[in-house]
Symmetry: C2
Subunit: 227 residues, 2 copies
């Protein structure tokens, strides 16, 4: 499948590498290709600049958001949460319309220092903002509750015996995304939480996730829902 | 131990019954004893009115908040989140000072319908509000992420193989509460998330908890943190 990945950070890089390995045709979208390729500073979590990744993955095209969105049959939003709405406006509603958009971003606000707060929460969520801004797009919130390495390799944590939470307004889009995540990444347990307003809940997991990462001293963990 | 339980709802009733069974001296605090005993309507989750519980537990005293707080060596806040600060003011700082206060409440706001939102979150939490209002009290946030029946009987869910999250500014208070929860209720896995600001994270679990209850069709579940 042609998969457009918007965002060139740790999450975008990790998803692009894995989906290329799985023989999907990956198109990476960014705001300004020349600027993205010119960056030499490491990312906020110490990951290398995108140009290093690109040298290791020369076959993967890096194009402006609109071109990536136009080419992708499915679109993954791996931009930082604070930049997602702008990035999607640049991608363009016409290029996204009718497609599945997997929203992986979290509306983290680092402006007040660490740990981050959320720029939107409680009675709203980033995923809802995106769905309202692009009503013809099938927004599915997923993957935002785990580290990038866990997203593409859930078996690295407890043999994959833990849960991913998805939500969205379009039932068939959720079914497609669930199958996609199982087939490509090996997710075994995926719970559908209902419509897109459930993203309030999954985005609001972030503050406890950050605290757990501190207590456990690793980002390689996840929640298993037990009954 | 003399344990004061503030609140006569489902959580207070469940905690009081279990701690009495464990031979603690339980004192239940409420705003107005006569009004509490006069209520005949069921609780918001269909639980019987307090007077029914009291008939089944005639030996457990029910007294005003201040009297309960004065008598308790440890105090459990099982009031509804929106009423907690008022209840604790009535309990009185002098009666609470130097004691451990286990804050179990969630700042749920039902005024906009279901599912509830939070009346405080993100850059603040109910537990922090309480700690700031009562600086000489040792506030430990705990138990707020599970149903009342799971609080006192974690073994009812997956044989107890799941996690409780605690936080607070006083390390020895957290140690005491952890031991108390293990000894009296059978909790096996308790993670200390750090200072009281971590309550932002544990209180913000509520929105996803409510959605999970809907998806799983039971409140008898919990999160197991797997690595």
């Amino acid at each position: 499948m042609k998969v457009a990945i918007l965002g060139t950070g740790m999450v975008g890089q990790t998803l692009a590498a894995k989906l290329s390995e799985m023989h999907h045709e990956v198109i990476i979208g960014t705001r300004n290709v020349a600027e993205t390729m010119a960056k030499t500073a490491p990312g906020p979590f110490g990951n290398p600049p995108f140009k290093v990744w690109k040298e290791q993955h020369p076959a993967t095209p890096v194009v402006p958001y609109a071109q990536a969105a136009a080419q992708g049959e499915m679109v993954l939003n791996a931009t930082s949460g604070g930049a997602s709405l702008d990035a999607l406006r640049l991608a363009g509603e016409a290029n996204l319309s009718g497609k599945i958009l997997v929203d992986i971003a979290n509306p983290l606000d680092f402006s007040k220092g660490m740990p981050p707060s959320l720029s939107v929460c409680n009675t709203n969520s980033l995923a809802e903002q995106i769905q309202r801004a692009f009503p013809t797009v099938k927004v599915v919130k997923a993957l935002n509750t785990v580290n990038a390495l866990v997203m593409v390799n859930p078996n690295a944590v407890a043999g994959g015996d833990h849960h991913l939470l998805v939500c969205g307004n379009d039932a068939s889009a959720k079914t497609s995304v669930t199958e996609f995540l199982k087939t490509n990444f090996g997710w075994k347990n995926i719970i559908d939480l209902g419509d897109i307003t459930a993203a309030r809940g999954t985005e609001m997991i972030l503050p406890v996730w950050v605290r757990l990462m501190g207590a456990l001293k690793t980002p390689m963990f996840n929640f298993k829902i037990v009954q």
